[in-house]
């Protein structure tokens, strides 16, 4: 699945390049197993993706302004528990998300190195009745080419899947609060500011399916600082409003589920309206358009 603008933690998964898909598609095994129902009935789920973007904005904060970004991601999920009580399910996910830059913060920048960001995360997800879920995620955001200092964060997310009540009109709302920790001045913070920040995001993800086998989603979200998350580098003033984002994402399956899992191609366009601090980081531009295309798989 495409995760434009990095609410990546829960989402993604790994990347295998286009050539891999082509190789798979050309093998006899691919054809032989076209009718395979569920190749992986066990308790582990592997997901992955490889996306290409013209711009990388992390919660509204610009990360590059030349070249393009490539996002390989991989996620391993463990379905630890399922039941009929108050707690319906428990899962553990861990994975990695990466951003490779060809532009000014990557291979064309001072470091001369492509690998701008590598994140590691672990999530404990709990599912309850009525489609509600609560998850806790620890993430370490690191920069192999020293483009920024390591940011450590704990995030809590409450989500509601209202598909059961609203069907195709479901909006799937969520709210997430993230706290940076282990920081110092200009160290360990997404904004490079003076104090550890507290971030809040509210979003919706309405979608439609069955459009000639493709699905389309329209994620909408707003990112805000509850405390010191969007500190202005010049004034030090914290800006509450970080960004507003609306996107359209089309996902088309690459054939049926086979013994290699379910593969898809996806692409989309995202529009971001920025707050004062994020506008400053964006070179004075108050908005940004991001396009992306990628491959994904789930197994």
């Amino acid at each position: 699945m495409l995760s434009i603008s990095r609410v990546r933690k829960n989402a993604q998964a790994l990347a295998v390049a286009t050539c891999t898909t082509l190789m798979l598609a050309s093998t006899p095994a691919w054809a032989q197993d076209a009718a395979a129902a569920d190749p992986n009935p066990g308790a582990l789920t592997i997901t992955g993706s490889l996306d290409f973007l013209n711009q990388y904005m992390f919660r509204g904060i610009q990360q590059n302004n030349t070249g393009f970004a490539t996002w390989p991601a991989f996620d391993l999920g463990l379905a630890a528990y399922s039941g009929d009580g108050g707690l319906k399910s428990a899962s553990i996910n861990f994975g990695t998300w990466n951003s490779l830059h060809s532009g000014n913060t990557g291979s064309d920048g001072p470091s001369g190195k492509l690998w701008y960001e590598s994140d590691f995360y672990a999530t404990l997800g709990l599912g309850f009745g009525g489609g509600t879920s609560f998850s806790t995620t620890y993430t370490a955001y690191t920069s192999p080419n020293s483009g920024f200092t390591t940011v450590k964060e704990i995030m809590f997310k409450f989500a509601l899947d209202d598909s059961g009540k609203l069907g195709k009109a479901a909006v799937k709302p969520y709210i997430a609060i993230a706290q940076e920790f282990d920081t110092d001045i200009a160290t360990g913070q997404a904004d490079g500011g003076a104090n550890a920040g507290t971030y809040m995001e509210i979003g919706f993800a309405p979608g439609y399916y069955g459009i000639s086998k493709a699905s389309i989603a329209f994620p909408i979200k707003i990112g805000m600082s509850l405390s010191d998350y969007y500190e202005n580098p010049l004034t030090g003033e914290d800006s509450t409003f970080g960004f507003f984002s609306i996107a359209g994402i089309v996902t088309a399956p690459l054939g049926p589920t086979t013994s290699f899992g379910a593969w898809n191609i996806h692409g989309g366009v995202e529009y971001q309206a920025l707050g004062d601090t994020t506008e400053f980081f964006n070179g004075g531009e108050s908005n940004q358009v991001i396009w992306s295309i990628g491959l994904g798989f789930s197994y």
């Binding site: 790994l14 295998v16 891999t20 190789m23 798979l24 093998t27 006899p28 095994a29 197993d33 395979a36 190749p39 992986n40 009935p41 066990g42 308790a43 582990l44 592997i46 991989f74 391993l76 463990l78 379905a79 630890a80 528990y81 399922s82 039941g83 428990a90 553990i92 690998w115 590598s118 672990a122 690191t142 192999p144 020293s146 390591t150 086979t258 013994s259 290699f260 899992g261 197994y299």
Partner: protein, 288 residues
């Protein structure tokens, strides 16, 4: 893992142990013990701890704790009864985290010393012979060495069918550096490794005794007196204990540990300051 970086295989990460314990203790686990993953993708991985890290006999670090998280995703592309028995594709990553001089306690102040990515294809033929080709990029996130790109070829024979418990499982590995160098020398090197991996199984564990020798065919072990052919000899003992007797819904997990004895060539001895070293390790592994 490719990159026979050590004959020894290693042990467990506390966090993963907790995670696995929690997972295997859940009701879901008891529900099934048949193959949880009959599809064409295979996941393997692990997290090991070691007291030192030598890459093909070249000293990297022996201070603090060395941790090796790794993961591999395999695609079984073909299997058949013809001359070509199987074709598989593997991609993966191998990492080395250091608390000592090469990591968080060193000049970089950063833990993540090495991160490798590889992609390889393997072809199985008759008489249990396998030929593989692998492209690997060795990178250092904490900038302690320059990126090395390498292409390697490996031929392996599983002689278990002929020799049974006395099988040696010999292999030969030839690697050519394309850009960057493991020895930090003047020229890209060519590396040759021969090894065997005899082993046996006991009631609830398996033991392997990998032996290997690393050689420079050209400029792989460059020192002050030029290139040295002999890089290292390694003999190890590795014990692997599975968590369960059969795969669970979470796959097959194991705990493993071992000891490796390294005897170094003159060039590697000069860099390390000693002619030999003993490496201990312990780790947790997953196959799904």
């Amino acid at each position: 893992m490719q990159r026979s970086r050590t004959a020894v295989q290693w042990l467990s990460v506390c966090a993963l142990t907790v995670l696995v314990s929690a997972a295997t203790a859940s009701p879901a686990r008891a529900q099934g013990s048949t193959d949880p993953n009959p599809g064409a993708l295979t996941l393997s991985g692990g997290f090991d701890f070691a007291n030192a890290y030598f890459f093909r006999g070249i000293f990297q670090d022996d201070t603090g704790v060395v941790m090796w998280p790794y993961g591999d995703l395999g695609f079984a592309l073909h299997s058949g009864d013809g001359a070509l028995k199987s074709v598989s594709l593997n991609i993966g990553t191998w990492n080395s985290l250091h608390t000592g001089d090469a990591g968080s306690n060193g000049p970089s102040g950063k833990l993540w010393y090495e991160s490798d990515f590889y992609a390889g294809a393997s072809f199985g033929f008759g008489k249990s012979t396998t030929v593989g080709v692998t492209y690997t990029v060795y990178t250092s996130p904490n900038q302690m060495f320059g990126t090395v790109k390498e292409l390697s070829f490996k031929v392996a024979v599983d002689d278990t069918g002929l020799l049974g418990a006395a099988a040696l499982k010999p292999y030969a590995l030839l690697a050519q550096e394309l850009d960057g160098q493991a020895d930090g020398g003047a020229n890209e090197g060519t590396y040759l490794e021969f090894g065997i991996g005899p082993g046996f199984s006991l009631s609830k564990m398996s033991v392997t005794v990998p032996v290997k020798v690393g050689l420079s065919l050209s400029d792989y072990y460059e020192g002050i007196s030029g290139d040295e052919t002999f890089g290292f000899l390694s003999v190890a003992g590795v014990v692997t204990v599975p968590f369960t007797s059969a795969p669970t819904r979470f796959g097959s997990w194991n705990i493993h540990g071992g000891v490796e004895f390294l005897m170094l060539g003159d060039r590697n001895e000069a860099v390390f300051g000693d002619s030999s070293h003993v490496i201990g390790s312990i780790g947790i592994g997953l196959s799904y």
